[in-house]
Amino acid sequence: MMKLYLLSKKVFILVFLFSGYIAMAQSNKVTGRVTSGDDGTTLPGVSILEKGTTNGTVTDSDGQFSINVRPDATLVFSFVGYTSQEVAVAGRSTIDLTLLNDITSLNEVLVVGYGEVQKKDATGAIVNISSKDFNKGVLTSPQDLMLGKIAGVAITSNSGAPGANSTIRIRGGSSLSASNDPLIVIDGFPVDNVPASGDGSIAGVPNALASINPNDIETFTVLKDASATAIYGSRASNGVIIITTKKGKEGKPKFSYNATVSISSPIKNMDVFSGDQYRALITELAQTGISGLNPAAVADLGTASTDWQKQIYRDAVSQDHNISAAGAFKNVPYRISYGYTDQEGIVKTTGFQRNSLNVNLNPSLLNDNLKLNISAKGSIMENNFGPDGVIGNAISMDPTRPVMDGNTEYGGYYTRLNGGGLVNNSSTGNPVAMINQTDNTSKAKRFVGNFQAEYKLPFLPELKLVANAGIDQTTSDGHNYAPLDAGFTANTTGVTQGRKNDYSAKNQSQLLDLYFNYVKEMGDHKIDFTGGYGWQYFYRENYSFNRNFDETIINSAARTNKSENYLVSFFGRLNYTFKGKYLLTATLRDDGSSRFAKENRWGLFPSAAFAWKLKEENFLAGIEVLSDLKLRVGYGVTGQQNISNNPYPYLPIYVQSTPTGEYQLGYNLDGTARFYTTLRPGPYDPSIRWESTSTLNAGIDFGLFNNKITGSIEVYQRKTNDLINTIPIPGGTNFSNFLTTNVGNLENKGIELQLNATPIDTEDLTWKIGFNLARNVNKLTKLLLVKDPAYTGINAGFISGGVGNYVQNQQVGYPINSFWVHQQVYDDSGKPIEDLYVDRSGNGGTVSGNNLNRYHNQKPAASILMGINSRVNFKKFDFSFSGRISLNNYVYNNNLSSRGYYANLYKLDFFSNVPTAINDTKFNSAQYTSDYYVTNASFFKMDNISAGYSFNRVFTDKLRARISLTVQNAFVITKYNGIDPEVDGGIDNNIYPRSRSFLMGVNFTF
């Protein structure tokens, strides 16, 4: 069999060569160069075929070709990922051609877990997007490259800070208190999607993915349904994103340099009162004696007029440089790239710098039987976070005060004093002082390296053995300092303390995968089996030490915490194809996690999927309009073991107190108090086990009009059982009042549509449109161990303003994080009436004090998300845009609720500025739980618009270039009255605003 195959291959080559000789003999020579319509770079490896013959060639590493054809011949240019073009020779001897990318190509190879599959043979809900379709102008956050491009993948940047993290949710998330982040696999290495802060985060590294240079990324492949993800078993419940970086190809070295310069500026500031307006407001209110305002207060007003927001924001200039070399050194294809990014934030002093080096080597040895993939990515990231809370302070700071008042105690910065001449420590810290006196920076280093060897047994070529070993390590060091005279660091007495907070962290993960792949074709049957074993180890260490600047007072004692966990897995996948049109995939993974007790440690996660290539059936062959049709249905179970930050939730563990959490019992011999480090038994659940999610997915892939329109429709239902959730437990039964345990069920249902169309496709003009739509509905179906109809739910959505106020909760029958608020009563003119809410419980009394009067009012997640993007290529010009529509995502305007009330104006003997929107409510006191603040924040966002022009020749034929102009975050259409309608989690308070950026880019290849 094998010999036959080899033989047929040789015969083919012979025929091919022979026909080439024939062609040469009878015709004239045509030469030329093929370039990419995407970026103007040359395309090596494009196959060129004389139509109707077997005469053909391929372009060399410079994209050059030479072929002898008949003068009246038609040449067919084709290349994977690009639309084939037919060009009539018409007697010409030179034909330069630009090939346009084919968004809809079905011949692409999709990278899936532990292997790859041709897109046309895929049985699961898998979407991929490659570099040519990426969003333009993305400098730091690789997630944003695919923003809005894939149905069901919602990406929300946490803030506009440089290097900020993004929250990625695939189909809405399947967990409640366990992680909802998808698994991210970089070049075969599963890395944890580290959150920006809180449990599991790395101090000083807000976005772990930002260590990857977006310029090095070749494709994102998103595995959405369980049949596709189940091979990753334990970490796959929230989908999988596979990132593949660019690799070298055989041929002459190809160099590329690109540079981007950008200017970013704030889009919108919070509307607050100016100095004069504020004085007028206070004077007016003092006449009515409102909220402690009186003539004495008026006399206390300052005379300056300072726009504090203007003081802290700037137009930020950023630059980005990348240089790469790709080719082959002898038999070793390589790609080496270096990137430098220096991004300034729009808040003064903030910024992100990255130096990255990426090396990929892909040699083939032993007659191509041994293929090696060596990949190393290193980066150094430097963050300047700026002062915490400065954005909120710039909104609140008294506009009647100057920036500097010439004092000598507080660096000259205006500082509000108390009656005793010391700092009023409740007052708003001077934002400019905070900017200039804070040193809040971190430096992080990350290395991801892996080595993959793929060995095809010479005596059994159907069998491949693969070993993949790797390491991912991030270390960070950071500090947050402020000098002793910083007015904003005063203690409760009013004495400034300064600040000296140091921290560091180290995260490491090691990986070993061993698997084999066996492919065998027998007549109509094809079997492709993969089986193997995986081992991964995670280690986390962090350290922090907080004290005042001169180190005389310890605020939080030096402490190092360490933890580790392991995952061990056995997995297998069978792809069975019958007659090339009936496709069956079955996977099974057995996962062991060190987070669970021996009895519950192993989880078995099966999946099966079936696909039917309908178009290949005879009864559809005659329908010309329909160029492709495939039905898919799949079912699978995936797991979740990523439970908060406790790697031993099943073990009873005693924890020592920190040196600030000791307790005095008696005295030492010298009469000083004797303090004891305390030992606390921690809550544990000996029977905690896997959370499992079962997903049923059905999809249709279709192509119309010779695949000028392609698309897919997916419907799915996802049920999570044994939800890992932190719930109230019966008092007296464990060492806390809440316990992380398996309880509750969650259901997600949704539908997704992905459409790509090429309405125009000619030699000079191409126009492509992409559209996607996703609707996901989630609902908690069980929450507690016992059913209690009177139970109002688990509080969530804690807000700023006061202490412990919250506006969301988790309750059976409602989407997760539903807003849970009081129903505001309005007067005839539509103005909300202070303190008047609908008594929904009928209990009377103070309506706002009774939680039974609260009701579930909307949710932060959008009901429908759409993405729309388009690209036009006209000759050497290209133009593209990408935007998103989000419908019925609700936001609680916490900036307004926590500031917009009169009692806030002159509280604790200092003035606070408030949003001018206070005029809409004229509230005297805070109305935190009013549904007035829950607003529909539907939006359309034009994420980016880009235009470019390609030069095929710059000075010499060797040098080509493309210049481009990109606007990021171009405009937003929304009715939401806050700064930005896109708020992760739905509670809008004091986030670093996203800026609008203009980028100019230039790219050279040679």
Binding site: S556, V568, L665, L679, P683, N734, N851
Partner: protein, 513 residues
């Protein structure tokens, strides 16, 4: 042959690798601050550290001062501190204090308008059951030891459990009941009645009373006097806990006599009990300890000192005129109010007006000699849960209410001792006649307010005197009206919190909720 051998070798290596890796899944903590329960007591020093945690359960909110590794969750860590939520439920529900900021449904306390889902009620309940579980674990781990010191620790843990249960008895009445026999796990504790819990606490305290340390044996630790104080409180309030007619005033006097006969003595100055070095006061029988450096929490002394109105702090806490009007003698050294001179006014027209209502400058961060106790944000000031002055006034009340074993002359002497402390300008003394009859009870209640205000006694006192709910006594904002209005009697008990009701179907809600 050769290839076969190498294949076998390779397979063996692979198999070995895989199985050794499966062994990797057995992990134990590598954190230097963590140790498993199975090995923690291999170090004998751990016993006192674990005992210190049971004590600290009343004081601070978690393992990291002032916040960061909370013992309980679902509520702001600082608000949830045992001492703070206890104080809030005991004081903010009365005439003694209001809080400026509408957060955590705190105004419901002022209005006597609370609901089972109010965070502070949930927090208090959880703190009580948490200390009980901590104590149970400790009692289990030290049970049957032949070591005398360990057995003393064991008895102290039982005292602390009884103290927590006493707070549960007083605030919630019918508590879920667990002892050291109930190991942590997924089970549903049974609810006991108030009477059953009363009997349990009484028997526990009687059982351990004589085995606790002698009075003052070590500062901060429960001694025989502390047990007597707790028993005396149980007995003095027995008619509330068990129903009218269940008089145990004689038993109360018996216990109070043990306290007054002990080595505790009044400190020369009233304020010595409320300053940064109040651990040196001779009067404090059982404190909840704080230290600006070592024991940090957003707990009650920190809030009373930094959150008080009229002294430049958060201006959260003020007194209603119901309290400040009780100080009719201008020279009363117990009057620590921050009044008009500090920018405060007597009347409260709205709870959220921080300048309305007098500030209270009773608890201080300064030392007795006036020097600054600590320069950070957290005071050294301990919270005196039991002190001798309380015992004196309880004695007078028990005698008035008919208890045997005491007499009015001694009672008057005790009251006068409080009014004429050696280091203070003396107040007018009273005669024993002042302490008799209904008028005597009124005087004692008011005297308790003047002496013990802001020390967490007020709600219990008002209930015992029938003045907490109903219309017998009104103060500003009781029942959510400026002058106060009558409230329903069922509010004498807090509701079982919704979190626990939802989690434990064995619990029945208290009457009226």
């Amino acid at each position: 042959m050769n290839t076969n051998k190498s294949k076998i070798f390779l397979s063996a290596v692979l198999a070995g690798l895989m199985f050794s890796c499966i062994g990797d899944l057995d992990v134990t903590p590598i954190d230097p601050n963590q140790v498993t329960a199975a090995t923690v007591f291999n170090d004998p020093a751990a016993y006192k550290q674990a005992l210190a945690k049971v004590y600290a359960g009343f004081a601070i909110s978690g393992q990291q001062g002032p916040a960061g590794q909370p013992d309980i969750s679902g509520v702001d860590e600082g608000f949830s501190c045992y001492s703070r939520s206890y104080w809030y439920l005991q004081e903010l529900t009365t005439d003694e204090a209001v809080w400026t900021y509408d957060e955590n449904q705190i105004f419901n306390l002022h209005y006597q308008n609370w609901t089972p889902s109010d965070l502070l009620i949930n927090a208090m309940f959880s703190r009580i059951t948490y200390v009980v579980v901590l104590a149970n674990e400790y009692i289990r781990n030290t049970a049957g030891s032949s070591d005398a010191e360990l057995m003393l620790f064991n008895k102290e843990a039982r005292f602390l459990r009884a103290l927590a249960y006493y707070h549960g008895l007083d605030l919630f009445g019918n508590m879920p009941f667990v002892t050291e026999a109930d190991k942590p796990g997924a089970f549903l504790p049974q609810q006991v009645t108030r009477a059953e819990l009363f009997a349990y606490i009484e028997s526990e305290l009687k059982d351990i009373q004589d085995e606790l340390g002698e009075p003052k044996f070590e500062y901060g630790r429960a001694d025989k006097a502390a047990a007597s104080m707790l028993l005396a409180k149980l007995y003095l309030n027995a008619e509330v806990y068990l129903g009218a007619g269940n008089k145990k005033y004689t038993e109360a006097i018996t216990e109070l006599n043990k306290v007054t006969a002990s080595s505790y003595s009044l400190s020369p100055k009233f304020l010595d009990n409320f300053v940064a070095d109040n651990d040196k006061s001779s009067e404090i029988i059982f404190p909840i300890n704080y230290d600006g450096e070592h024991t940090q929490a957003f707990a009650i002394t920190q809030v009373m000192i930094n959150g008080n109105a009229g002294n430049g702090g958060w201006s959260g806490l003020r007194a209603t005129s119901g309290l400040s009007d009780k100080f009719t003698v201008p020279s009363d050294y117990r009057d620590t109010f921050a009044k008009e001179a500090a920018g405060q006014s007597r009347e409260i027209t709205a709870i959220n007006q921080s300048k309305e209502g007098y500030g209270v400058y009773k608890f201080r961060k300064f030392k007795k000699d006036g020097s600054d106790g600590f320069t950070g944000d957290f005071p050294n000031t301990d919270f005196p849960l039991f002190r001798l002055a309380d015992a004196y006034l309880m004695y007078a009340e028990a005698v008035n209410r008919g208890g045997a074993g005491g007499d009015l002359t001694t009672a008057a002497n005790y009251v006068n001792a409080l009014r004429t402390r050696s280091g203070e300008v003396a107040l007018a003394t009273i005669t024993s006649a002042v302490l008799t009859g209904a008028a005597g009870l009124d005087f004692i209640l008011d005297e308790r307010a003047r002496e013990l205000y802001w020390e967490g006694h007020r709600r219990t006192d008002l209930i015992r005197f029938g003045k907490f709910t109903g219309s017998a006594y009104l103060w500003p904002w009781k029942g959510n009206t400026p002058d106060g209005t009558s409230t329903s009697e069922h509010l004498n008990l807090f509701p079982i919190p919704s979190n626990d009701l939802g989690a434990n179907p064995n619990l029945d809600q208290n009457t009226g909720y």
